[in-house]
């Protein structure tokens, strides 16, 4: 018994480890996480898939054994106890019960018996009657029992444990291990096409139990499954082919996902029979005892068109580039070979770029008040919304250095104006650094690009500077020399800005201007720059004077141009067209022992209930002449039992006093 309890505790403790170390991850991941030293120790101990390691399974085995033994040990005794009425209890022993009373009565044996029997029946006892009329103390014994099913509870609860453990073992990776031990199967650790995977890592569809995953792009099919096992995986052949017709996502108005569902067609290999259906989360599709679950989803390789902007070419020449997400292709930048690694294409992006500023609150009290008001509401205005499609890509140079970019297809409105957004990060772990390009009047990026091209074009600088001078120096009174000076400095400002944006201007300022003048001069530089930009814009849009919106566009453009020096690449791939192809991840499992486990569960519930809520009670009523002995015992002497005893006592007392038999 102690052993059983120890087992329970040990299993509990062992299970904890598995919840702390994430199970069945990639071994390389573990290596990084724990370092070689601990990695090896942990691997030896099997902590990475603890619930299927030898020692853990062995403990479970012990659990089964000890429980079985327990049943075996108790069964005969229990059955006997349940059957028996214990009608052989001696009067002497009955008198020594903790719960017993003797009632004096004038009634004869039969009358007593009648009352006793009546009493037992009414209270739901089964009894057996035994005459001891020739014993030293002659008496007639009614031995009664009730609630013996409590013992059954014990059997059920324990049988349940055994059933569940065995069922679980069968549905676990037992068979896979057998294939390893006796059938020379080995896990595959390399990434490779299914066709190339050697037979020793493939499991035939006769494998009775398996549970694995597979991802299928829309329009494609598969007839295999990947079972993660130890440091690698097995390929499980399926008795059918699964074809993904279409994957659906539905969203709530708030943007949270509402439904993931896949329309699939299953084609049985042996009969060629086709079954089409839909599987969605919580609604698996079951085909000859193999269940197909909606597990995950993603981009299945979508054809996309990217418009390539060369940022350092002083022109707005663009080239279109066709590609498929999730695939690589070579590109050349400055005659240097690069690889463009297209990642996820996303059709939906629920983002919150707008750094929504809540109105400033005065002090703690307000803070608190505001919180309380919010706490009183069950709703909240949502800041999240869908910002449309995006493409993710890495641009990797020959030396293997790469930067990651995520570009959003449609302009996103920030502080009231539309911008094209592009996120960049130099290292995987960094957060994205977002760049914004103001969209022009037609919601295109072209306006910005051409303005930029013009403003940075060394050839056009003089022209712009002159226009700026014309704009800035309205009074004719000024001397020609001063005008030339102005133009000259305007050119230098533009040049500096072209070289390095605002930071470069700042540097120039620090070099050329004495401390005390800087602020003032900075203002002038800024003014010149802005005026020049505006002039440049006017050259491109002579038709009318720039509106307030256009003014903002120009100023924003300056900011973006300056920021672009940080962009880390001289090409910007604008997502212009796509054709979404999604992929759906399925978990497919065959678990024949499920029924055993469920039966076990049923037993467990019945058993536990019986054990707790059925109370075994036994009563002996010894009718003697002149008195009746009432003794009672039970498996649990709790308050309930005491209550019952007193109630029975009272009932009997009363019955024996009241005129019982007709002749009395």
């Amino acid at each position: 018994m102690r052993f059983a309890i120890t087992l329970l505790v040990v299993i509990a403790l062992a299970s904890i480890i598995g919840t702390i170390i994430k199970q069945n991850e990639s071994y390389t991941g573990y290596l990084v996480e724990f370092g070689p030293f601990w990695f090896n120790i942990f691997r030896r101990l099997g902590l990475f898939n603890i619930y299927s390691t030898g020692w853990f399974v062995t403990i479970l085995g012990f659990l089964v054994v000890s429980t079985s033994l327990c049943i075996y040990r108790h069964a005969p005794q229990f059955v006997k106890d349940m059957r028996s009425f214990r009608e052989n209890a001696t009067l002497h022993s009955l008198q020594n019960f903790q719960h017993q009373t003797t009632f004096a009565t004038t009634l004869d044996l039969d009358a007593q018996t009648r009352i006793a029997a009546d009493f037992l029946n009414t209270n739901g006892f089964k009894y057996k009657l035994k005459d001891q009329l020739h014993a030293s103390q002659p008496h007639r014994l009614l031995a009664a029992k009730k609630g013996v099913a409590q013992r059954l509870g014990y059997f059920f609860a324990h049988a349940a444990i055994i059933l569940i453990c065995i069922g679980g073992l069968l549905d676990g990776n037992l068979f896979i291990r057998m294939q390893e031990w006796f059938n020379g199967k080995q896990v595959e650790t390399r990434e490779m096409r299914v066709s190339q995977i050697p037979a020793r890592s493939k499991l035939s569809d006769s494998n009775p139990t398996f549970r694995g995953n597979v991802t299928i792009p829309e329009g494609s099919s598969t007839d295999v499954l990947f079972l993660n096992h130890k440091e690698g995986y097995f390929v499980q052949e399926l008795p059918f082919t699964v074809t993904l017709k279409k994957f659906h996502v539905e969203h709530y108005p708030t943007g949270q996902p509402k439904r993931f569902a896949s329309d699939i067609v299953v084609t049985l290999k042996n009969s060629g029979k086709q079954i089409s259906g839909t599987t969605s989360v919580n609604h698996p599709l079951i085909v000859d005892n193999i269940a197909i679950y909606q597990a995950s989803f993603g981009d299945g390789g979508s054809p996309v068109t990217l418009k390539r902007w060369d940022l350092d070419a002083p022109s707005t020449q663009t080239t279109d580039l066709k590609g498929v997400s999730q695939s690589n292709q070579p590109v050349s930048v400055h005659q240097q070979p690069y690889t463009l690694e297209l990642g996820d294409f996303r059709f939906f992006n629920i983002e919150n770029f707008a750094n929504d500023k809540t109105p400033a609150r005065q002090g703690m009290m307000d803070e608190f008040k505001g919180d309380m008001e919010n706490a009183a509401k069950v709703t909240k205005e949502k800041t999240l919304h869908n910002v449309g499609p995006s493409i993710l890509y890495k641009l990797r140079d020959a030396s293997g250095q790469a930067r990651e970019y995520i570009n959003y297809m449609s302009p996103i409105t920030l502080e009231g104006a539309p911008y094209f957004i592009s996120g960049m990060k130099a290292r995987v772990i960094d957060p994205y650094q977002y760049f914004r390009f103001p969209a022009d009047a037609n919601g295109e990026i072209t306006g910005f690009m051409s303005l930029r091209a013009l403003l940075l074009d060394a050839g056009k600088r003089k022209l712009i500077a002159e226009q700026t001078a014309k704009q800035a120096l309205t009074s004719t009174a000024l001397s020609e020399t001063y005008r030339l000076q102005f133009i000259d400095s305007a050119e230098r400002v533009l040049a500096a800005f072209a070289r390095g944006g605002f930071p470069e201007l700042d540097r120039q300022l620090k070099i050329n201007v004495p401390q005390d003048k800087r602020n003032e001069v900075a203002q002038i530089y800024l003014k010149i720059l802005q005026t020049s930009a505006l002039e440049a814009y006017k050259m491109q849009h002579p038709e009318h004077a720039p509106t307030g919106q256009e003014m903002r566009f120009v100023l924003d453009s300056l900011v973006s141009m300056s920021a672009l020096h940080e962009y880390g690449s001289s090409v910007y791939f604008q997502l212009t067209d796509f054709q979404q192809v999604q992929a759906s991840g399925f978990q497919i499992s065959r678990s024949p022992a499920k029924k055993i486990v469920y039966l076990g569960c049923l037993f467990l519930v019945l058993g536990v209930f019986a054990m707790f809520y059925i109370q075994e009670q036994r009563i002996w009523l010894a009718c003697q002449n002149g008195k009746l002995l009432f003794s009672m015992s039970g498996t649990r002497k709790n308050q309930q039992f005491e209550h019952a005893f007193t109630r029975y006592q009272a009932a009997l007392k009363q019955a024996l006093q009241s005129p019982a038999s007709p002749e009395a």
Binding site: M1, I5, L8, V9, I11, A12, S15, I16, G18, T19, I20, Q23, Y51, T113, I115, A117, D118, N121, T122, N123, L129, D171, R211, Y252, T254, Q256, P257, K258, R259, F260, V281, N282, P284, A291, Y293, A295, D371, M372, N374, A375, A376, K377, V378, T379, K380, Q587, S589, S591, K594, V597, Y598, V605, V608, F609, M611, F612, N638, Q639, R647, A651
Partner: protein, 381 residues
């Protein structure tokens, strides 16, 4: 040989005989169930019809088995319906209409629940130390009131969720905030039940310690995290299993929490506090009862979880952290029960164990959500 084949009826059997209130109660429940069934038949799917049909008799049986709960049931129905009628199908009114804003909107009702529990705690301890029967009675009353408000809040929340959108609406047992309220309610019901069955057993002061702690958490969670906002159900949670799996679990948690607090009381009987406390034997028995019922429901809940997982995750058992911790809790109490039932161990050792059990349970309940990632990461903090 049978002397008396069937009962002559001379003996008052202990079989149950309903009184008038019982009958009125039953009829009331049946009528309302019938009303719902006929009026909303079109809107209900087969599960909902089955659940409705099962609920009516269940509530009646409960009311007959534990008479004091009948007024509560009636009160909840009355307040909820009142609140719903005040809403007039418009959530905004929850802040406009006075009665809703300060009493019956789901949030205010739940805030009232918290306040009343805290009051009850204070009064209960006062009653304990002053040996004041009145104060104790009063604390009991407050606890009933708090529970009434809590349930009302939950039902109104359920209704409100549908006002957000027919596809958003769902039973409020889907996130940590909601289940915490559920926890308070179930824990107090169990406490009230056992305090009544074992008269003079001073459970309230102790049980309310846990309950008010939970209340504190609810308040913090709502104020600092806006957790009270009703979120639509992510696909994984759109299942009928959730509706029974979660509540079953919380009967377990509630009972274990109560048991732990009784454990504390039991340990205190070794100190000068003893003079204020009921006999250790009584506490010991209630502690057992609490763990027994908790274990029973927790077993069912875990099994329901497995059934659900088999439908949602593709396997009835995946050793997901939450699952595993449920198993750990289960094993822990199975061991406890073995000690008590078989070895007949009693007293302090088990009291300590029950207290420890609460730590294990709370980790399974909260710790997992906070520190361990897994497929159960819904109620994330």
């Amino acid at each position: 040989m049978e002397l008396v084949s069937q009962t002559s009826g001379k003996f008052a059997s202990n079989r149950f005989k309903p009184d008038t209130f019982d009958l009125v109660f039953a009829i009331g429940i049946l009528l309302s169930a019938f009303y719902v069934f006929t009026h909303f038949n079109a809107d209900m799917d087969i599960y909902e019809k089955i659940i409705l049909m099962a609920t009516a008799p269940a509530v009646i049986a409960l009311g007959w088995y534990w008479k004091s709960i009948r007024p509560l049931v009636i009160g909840i129905a009355a307040l909820s319906l009142w609140s719903i009628s005040l809403h007039q199908g418009d959530l905004a009114r929850a802040e406009k209409v006075f009665t809703l804003r300060y009493m019956l909107s789901s949030q205010s009702a739940i805030m009232w629940m918290g306040v009343l529990y805290i009051l009850a705690l204070v009064v209960a301890w006062f009653g304990l130390f002053r040996r004041s029967a009145f104060a104790t009675k009063f604390a009991t009353g407050l606890t009933w009131a708090a529970t009434l408000m809590g349930f009302t809040g939950m039902f109104v929340r359920w209704y409100a969720s549908y006002l957000l959108g027919p596809d958003v609406g769902h039973i409020p047992v889907s996130n940590l905030y909601e289940v915490f309220v559920l926890f308070c309610l179930i824990a107090s019901l169990l406490t009230l039940f056992y305090s009544e069955r074992y008269q003079g057993s001073q459970l309230l002061p102790f049980a309310l310690l846990v309950i008010t702690t939970a209340v504190g958490f609810i308040a913090w969670y709502a104020v600092s995290r806006g957790a009270q906002q009703i979120q639509p159900l992510i696909p994984a949670l759109q299942s009928y299993w959730m509706k029974i799996h979660v509540p079953a679990n919380f009967v377990g948690y509630g009972a274990f929490a109560l048991a732990a607090m009784i454990g504390v009381a039991l340990l205190l009987t070794r100190t000068r506090m003893a003079t204020y406390l009921p006999a250790p034997a009584v506490l010991d028995e209630i502690m057992y009862k609490a763990i027994a019922i908790g274990f029973f429901f927790f077993t069912i809940a875990t099994i329901l979880g497995a059934l659900w997982a088999a439908e949602a995750w593709g396997g009835y058992w995946s050793w997901d952290p939450k699952e595993t911790w449920a198993l750990i809790v289960w094993l822990n109490y199975a061991a406890w029960l073995h000690l008590r039932l078989i070895k007949g161990v009693r007293g302090m050792a088990l009291a300590w164990w029950a207290v420890g059990g609460l730590l294990v349970t709370s980790f399974a309940f909260l710790g997992v959500n906070m520190w361990l990632s897994g497929m159960h990461s819904y109620g994330g903090l």
